[in-house]
């Protein structure tokens, strides 16, 4: 039984209709005859389903439709087409610190957020101390929310969402909060939550984070679903896509191309490893530049050379 199921979900935004431009502008444009409603699809035909305990990573460049999709999952938006089915209580961390009231104290905000997330009073009363302890805000309980540092704010939001035992946990760019120590703690916390059978969705710009925490990955690009599959394959293909210069980027259009794209990235990695062994390491080169160069090497290879490389890589993996 799927906990989250997205069937052909499409979401459309309208811009420039009467409600957006106001009555005066509407009349003016009508008279001039240049009134038109623009619409664009933030998400188009998205399909995926998650079982209990799955953690889905959503990757994609800016404006890919990730956050909009999350809003459909949490029920804030109704898809224009298709449907989203979810089972159980959802705790969503969308744009962390928003929704807190700057004028209220930490304690009041904690109760308010708990109530907003749909919990009963007894539950929050019982959990309150634990939440504050986890957020390391024991000394700030009666401080106004606006007096907290941005790290503290995010920590509080994170603690509330995680400690209240949701069935579905949705995290939008939140794991990059706090100092290194808290990042570590929060990553471990998420892992233990997932081990407890919670279903999660993580949106992150860090592919490393997605690799570490997720077992399935959805790749979106300009509202279109590029791939949905196991973490390794999709992340490899996506990394390869990211490190290729914009002009040469190519989106995989079917499963075969996805696997090819994944292999392309792995082979680039393999060449990098070979360079390392040969002592040709340039420490000034950033990861992005390095992979850009390596992928260029791959792309300029003849099919025969590629085949040789492929066999070498297979032998290496097989040997391990």
């Amino acid at each position: 039984m799927a906990v989250i199921e997205c069937n052909n979900v499409s979401i459309r935004y309208k811009t420039g209709d009467i409600k957006a431009i106001g009555l005066k502008e509407y009349v003016m444009r009508k008279i001039k005859g240049n009134y038109s409603v623009n619409e664009f699809w933030a998400d188009k035909n998205i399909n995926f389903s998650l079982e209990k305990g799955d953690m889905l990573g959503i990757v994609g460049t800016n404006g890919a439709g990730k956050s909009t999709l999350l809003k459909a999952v949490t029920g804030i938006m109704i898809p224009t087409e298709g449907e989203v089915k979810t089972e159980g209580k959802i705790a969503a961390l969308l744009e962390l610190a928003s929704g807190f009231d700057p004028e209220l104290t930490v304690r009041e905000n904690t109760y308010l957020r708990g109530a907003l997330l749909g919990y009963t009073k007894e539950f929050i009363v019982n959990k309150y101390d634990e939440i504050i302890a986890f957020a390391e805000l024991e000394d700030f309980q009666e401080h106004m929310f606006k007096q907290l540092s941005s790290g503290m704010k995010s920590r509080l939001a994170f603690s509330i969402a995680c400690l209240i035992e949701p069935d579905i946990l949705i995290l939008d760019e939140v794991l990059s909060v706090g100092d290194e120590g808290f990042k570590d703690v929060s990553a471990r916390r998420i892992k233990s939550i997932l081990a407890g059978g919670v279903t999660g969705i993580l949106v992150s710009h860090s592919v490393e984070q997605v690799r570490e925490l997720c077992n399935k990955v959805l790749w979106l690009d300009h509202g279109k679903q590029i791939a949905f599959g196991p973490t390794k394959i999709v992340c490899n293909a996506y990394s390869g896509f990211l490190y290729t210069s914009k002009a040469k980027r190519k989106l995989p259009s079917n499963e075969e191309e996805l696997y090819e794209a994944s292999d392309r990235f792995l082979h680039a990695w393999y060449i990098g490893e070979k360079e390392k062994r040969e002592g040709k390491v340039n420490f000034d080169e950033s990861v992005a530049v390095k992979y850009g160069r390596l992928l260029n090497i791959i792309d300029s290879m003849t099919p025969e050379e590629r085949e040789v490389l492929k066999q070498e890589y297979k032998a290496l993996k097989g040997g391990k």
Binding site: I76, M77, E95, S98, L104, L112, A115
Partner: protein, 254 residues
């Protein structure tokens, strides 16, 4: 179902607490203001109309007070509701909550002020030799129907406000006009045989009910009861329908 009600009850409590704390933050007199403001309003009107215009009428202060009482509740509740949805945009665009709760919280806040002012109103009544019989109990009826009526108007306004920000200014002008056409400080007899037209104004209907009970000392007629009820139900219904239809539209426009 019971779980849901319990859940929303807690959320509602927290929202009410938040709105109260925010409203009286850093005020010296705090909640006292909700009594003082309408009281000063009445006194100003008294001074103006008794001293400058030489108006004398039995229980004139009660006459004015019952008008400002209803009007100030209606103003506070509807204006509070109008802005409540937009003010909580950062919440409902991130978390799925029943949006009407934000409005209910604002309405309750205004309603508590209303009841507090009502107590002052009764104190004035005592000094004015008003007859406190059992008929006074019927005041519960206009108070409750007014509550639902104002909430309905608030729902409609809040939805309109999301789509057209002009509503805020238009409504401000509308309220000023309403203040003058609701027969707060003049008798309805000025319209002569067209006096009935005043009943097309819901706010006046509730004022009239209260005056009939308090000043005339009688229970109002059946038509007045019906009008109170009809206005409340119609506006509440329209408000609910708009919310049902636009519930997921709002976030595109905030």
């Amino acid at each position: 179902m019971i779980q849901k009600i319990k859940q929303y009850k807690f959320l509602f409590e927290e929202l009410v607490k938040r709105d109260f704390k925010k409203k009286y933050k850093r005020t010296v007199l705090g909640v006292m203001w909700s009594i003082l403001a309408p009281l000063l309003n009445v006194l100003v009107l008294m001074v103006v109309f008794v001293n400058f215009f030489g108006r004398t009428q039995d229980h004139f202060i009660i006459y004015i007070f019952s008008g400002t009482l209803v009007m100030s509740f209606f103003t506070e509740a509807t204006q509070g509701c109008m802005r409540a949805l937009m003010a909580n945009a950062s919440i409902f665009t991130k978390i799925n909550v029943p949006k009407a709760l934000f409005l209910m919280s604002k309405t309750l806040q205004a309603f508590i002020n209303f009841l507090l002012t009502f107590i002052i109103f009764f104190v004035f009544c005592i000094f004015n030799d008003i007859d406190f019989g059992f008929h006074m109990l019927t005041l519960i009826y206009p108070v409750l129907t007014l509550l639902f009526f104002s909430f309905g108007v608030g729902m409609i306004l809040s939805a309109l406000f999301v789509f057209f920000r002009d509503v805020e200014y238009l409504y401000g002008i509308f309220l000023t006009i309403l203040n003058y056409v609701s027969a707060i400080f003049y008798p309805t007899s000025i319209l002569g045989k067209y006096e009935m037209i005043f009943h097309a104004n819901p706010v006046y209907v509730y004022i009239d009910y209260i005056r009939t009970v308090v000043i005339d000392g009688v229970i109002p007629s059946f038509p007045l009861h019906s009008l109170c009820f009809i206005y409340a139900v119609v506006f509440l219904l329209v408000g609910c329908l708009i919310y049902k239809k636009c519930n997921h539209e709002f976030l595109y426009y905030v």
